[in-house]
Symmetry: C4
Subunit: 222 residues, 4 copies
């Protein structure tokens, strides 16, 4: 498919449409969000008769939650990178939709922190779900907006690739909603569902990448 | 309007005038400032008999304040991006005016934090106002300086676009001053005024963008 | 040796393979991780009759540990920069191996913090060792993956340079394993071994750089 | 003066000598260091009968110290930018000297924090002095190293500009040493001396920039 032709713009307008700084800013926010997660790991204060080894052993759930949250934020960053690889120009709407995406993503460390302290509480599981769903919805909004403003893209997307991309963006929603619904009666299942998403996603990417017939599909994930 | 011609500079002088690192540094500071806001959301310690759900419910004003402050910092960043899209070269004065802008912006999380803890106190509302007014004044200073040093810009601005840009930069000042004046008798109104600015701004951008006759005006905001 | 020829890719695919944002994101994470280390230095609270000078004097081990951890993170960053100087394209696997590398590196401040508080405890020394070994193993994994996907590199590496690079990447492993084994009976030796790695590394770089016959070797370190 | 000719390097070696990532990483560290300073401003806990206004009033010295430290870090960043505007290639030594520079700079928030809590203590004033002197010495080391490796620069510097640059880099040293010497008998004078440096520096830049005869000199500061 051929590239879109350049918009006939004044140089100044062209610079305003350049996504460059939006990407630098976004990468900075993601870098901080993913690193803030580690601040949840606190050096243990040893009670009397407690060894450091025991105390670190007790932190095991916090470690697991840290690793999973790290992978989840990494996944949202990889999605962002993958989506914006198609974007040639941004307008004010894309800029603000992107800020909303960062707003949702920046709440992940807080939600992960609450979940780390109260892993069996439905309220903590709901909070985590709401934050992940918000980020996913903004992602779908961005997807939808870009689909309707093809001049912002490097090249037109096909109807088929749009539908595949949309499905991949929306798929986690189903898991998150189920995880929220079962949070009250089955908190452990809910937790497992949240944590399964990045692993499923990585598995899906691996499968799509090794299957030669779905090369185009593999390009839509990352 | 044609581009300004290149300044006749030695290669080294040209590199010193390159805004590149100023933008990377600025994007980094904004990314940290906007992410620090989330550190205000603390995992609740549950008192006896209190549920996590209640406790999160009580944090609602803190959430609202977080979202508004996030949008305000995002707005100041969008302004910065929009202004520097016109800047081709920077001199030492622009570099230091930019540092003053970052100084004011970096105080927003502290002021927002005080306001989150004491939303009814006139002193907290005044502090918030002083910080936002300082950031806006530095922005106007930058605007004024760039208007007098046209060789730093990609292309000369028209008198009309300068006046429009100046008005848009100065408009929030009026709201902030009113919000400070009413802080003592009417703290809630003051709070609403502060929080209205990003929403009014987004509304204005939307209106200017959809009205084809003011395309040039839309370019001056973002 | 000649450059590899360009892959015959659609423009969009080419942008997805561009390592640019991965590097910006990685530099951001490293910048934060290296700066978080300083948060371990807390302003001392003076007990009765204690002078600030004494209190700062007591912090000396914490300062030493800060400087060493700073150099270690700097070393892992220099390695990353050196490795990716050879990388022309990235695929999804490189992106995720890189995220695993950042995951391990982002745990260094926590492990350094535990070690700063419990420098004689075997458990703290083991934790530090596990984190450093994890980062080194991911580095070797990246090395191995890139060696098998030569089209991702700017130019093919020779068998000899691959073996040298691999040895240099694996060498610290030996030190770390020994440091972990002696942690229980000889904690001080263990500590010295960990802290020797960045110094040995800098010495090695200096030697390789000044010896003209190993210029190619010097290019493999940095 | 003509540009230096390109070094005759393999493409891979050229990428290893590219300062690009060193600058991104450095800008990231500076952005975090300058923003961490604001974490010293804590929301006041009101004692009984104390108003928020009084409590904020009491924080005035902390605000002053924050603003000064912000300007000092900004000054070290501006120096870095100015110096590296001349640098075309970096070698491993420059990379590690730069890391030492960042090590010293990253200690400024801690030293500023100690000074904010104990502004009259000689030990706090000495710590602040040691950190600023360390940063300045590393800066001089970088200056000296670059002076002896002219192939790393975009163009050779003249003997005269080297001497001027060196004097400007070394000048603050004198002030810092005096400030340390008088810290014990005259803590307030010591404090004033430290805080005078960024103001003197800004004044000097302003004077050099407006004096047309010293245009070359103005290029050496920023």
């Amino acid at each position: 498919m051929a590239e879109n032709t350049d918009l006939d713009l004044s140089p100044r307008a062209q610079r305003k449409l350049d996504p460059d700084r939006v990407l630098t800013f976004t990468d900075g926010v993601f870098a901080i969000v993913i690193t803030i997660l580690v601040l949840d790991l606190k050096v243990p204060d040893l009670g009397s008769g407690q060894s450091l080894a025991d105390s670190l052993e007790e932190m095991r759930p916090t470690f697991v939650s840290f690793v999973i949250s790290f992978l989840i934020v990494g996944m949202y960053w990889a999605w962002h990178r993958s989506t914006f690889a198609q974007v040639r120009y941004i307008d004010t709407s894309v800029l603000w939709i992107n800020l909303l995406y960062l707003l949702a993503v920046s709440l992940i460390p807080f939600a992960a922190s609450v979940l780390g302290d109260y892993p069996d509480e439905a309220a903590a599981l709901h909070l985590y779900g709401v934050v992940l769903i918000a980020a996913t919805l903004v992602r779908i909004l961005l997807f939808w907006y870009l689909g309707r403003h093809a001049t912002l893209l490097w090249q037109d997307s096909t109807e088929k690739s749009r539908r595949l991309g949309f499905s991949l963006a929306a798929a986690p929603l189903v898991v998150y909603v189920v995880a929220m619904l079962v949070a009250d009666p089955l908190p452990t299942l809910s937790l497992v569902l949240y944590f399964a998403v990045p692993l499923l996603y990585l598995g899906l990417v691996a499968v799509l990448q090794t299957a030669p017939r779905t090369k185009a599909a593999a390009e839509d994930v990352s």
